[in-house]
Symmetry: C2
Subunit: 249 residues, 2 copies
DNA sequence: TATCGAATTATTTTGGAAATTTTCTTGACG
DNA sequence: CGTCAAGAAAATTTCCAAAATAATTCGATA
């Protein structure tokens, strides 16, 4: 139950050491999982009920999340799930391309045998993981493996701060993806993604920096394009019924 | 008294809207100003007295600061001012070189006349500001002008997220500088820095991207070298007395 | 004299209630 | 019919005290 998600704050060793840590992790996972709509008001009483805690640790968790922009704090008007815009999605993804490219280059330069083996292991776990939304007991298992794979690729980068920022951006792109795709990722797409991951891993392990960077950039670009497409579709869905009448509640 | 410092969280318009916002700003300024030693325990009761508030807004402020790593939260053991290491200083500065270079390039490409004028204005305010530590009434005035100048240079960059990260890194380098330099910056150094700023501004306004990037990188590199030198000196001061006896409290 | 452990003290963390602010409702007025 | 203001309701923010956890003291023991 107390799954140890890698997080910057609080839990230096294993599980969360305080209620605020635990709520922070769960809330972060729920935000990233798209379980709150963008802009949705995060009212305190319902959240206290949902996460089974008092007001203080809840507010502390929300404040941490506000600092890395997964929630917005409005000052006397509470918190809301961060809004999403197509422009911001591109901003985040473009920056991820640059930063993750930088980190991957550094990783390829400095990585040792252990780093290589962990990439292989992470890839294997990802390949064996049930596709997104197919594990009812643990709905985020594929997502976790996916995150671990991308983290393994750049883990030999020497810049702690660069990895920190990449982690924040990753959380946001993950949220964009899951808000738009919900739980429906076509089988074919899963296979395509796996092929991209394999090609990327091969290039990295071959220490072919140029090719690896190209593959990583393309991989992220493709993801961004998928999200953008869904974005346009969702906006069309929302805009159209408004002209004819009232959208369903 | 309620000075409006530009901050990400909370105050969308003018001053802070909650006491948590106010405490967050003051605490952040004090951390960046080197008024807490690295690693120093930030106990709650003294801080409540110092900032004249209850426990809740104080903890919320500390949690926000923990998220961008100006304080460390240890879980059942409270908060402490972030530790400093030479390695991290270089990590932060190297990353700042890359990110701020990226932002400056984008700014030069996309900047308009208003952007140019604001650089000029910020440079002028910086040139007229009393040197660091010379304004007793407002000890941070030079620092604020300095921050504004650097912010103006890259303000035409289109990536909101890039500017956000740069702001965080800037806060850390500023802290490193002020922890080591205290309030003693030699007159000659002030003049050198001003000359660097002017050259940088000239290159930027001439839209000479290559030269501007070079000047910016060198400027930051020089700052890092100064800090590193002071770092070594401070470590020598700390290490030496320990062998002979006990250092003064 | 050093070490271990129980009791004491200090500190952090948490839940709840009071105070403050915002938001909604209602009714009067132009 | 729309606008505005005053009052009521709802929500956030804050203070505070109880609970939980960590640190310290002190004495007994080897």
């Amino acid at each position: 139950m107390k799954r140890a998600v890698a997080v910057d704050i609080g839990s230096p060793e294993g599980g969360p050491r305080t209620v605020a840590d635990a709520v922070h992790q769960r809330l972060r996972a729920d935000l990233m999982g798209g379980r709150y709509s963008p802009g949705e008001a995060l009212r305190l009483e319902p959240l206290m009920a949902r996460y089974g805690c008092g007001i203080s640790p809840l507010r502390e968790a929300l404040n941490r999340l506000a600092a890395d922009r997964l929630v917005r704090a409005i000052g006397q008007r509470g918190f809301q799930a961060a809004p999403v815009t197509l422009a911001e999605m591109w901003d985040v993804m473009r920056l991820r391309q640059k930063l993750e490219g930088e980190a991957l280059a550094g990783s390829i330069e400095g990585g040792d045998a252990r780093w290589e083996s962990e990439i292989l292991a992470a890839f294997h776990r990802l390949a064996k993981a049930p596709p997104p939304g197919h594990d009812r007991a643990d709905p985020d298992s594929w997502e976790r493996s996916h995150r671990d794979f991308h983290a393994a690729l750049i883990s030999a980068c020497s810049s702690e701060w660069l990895l920190h920022f990449i982690g924040i951006l990753y959380g946001h792109t993950e949220r964009y993806r899951r808000i738009r795709f919900e739980r429906t990722m076509p089988r074919k797409l899963v296979r395509d993604v796996e092929a991209e991951h394999r090609a990327l891993m091969d290039a990295v392990l071959a220490r072919d920096k140029r090719r690896a960077l190209k593959l990583l950039t393309d991989h992220l670009e493709k993801t961004a394009n998928f999200i953008a497409r869904e974005f346009a579709a969702a906006e069309a869905m929302e805009a159209a019924p408004r002209r004819r009448g009232r959208a369903a509640a």
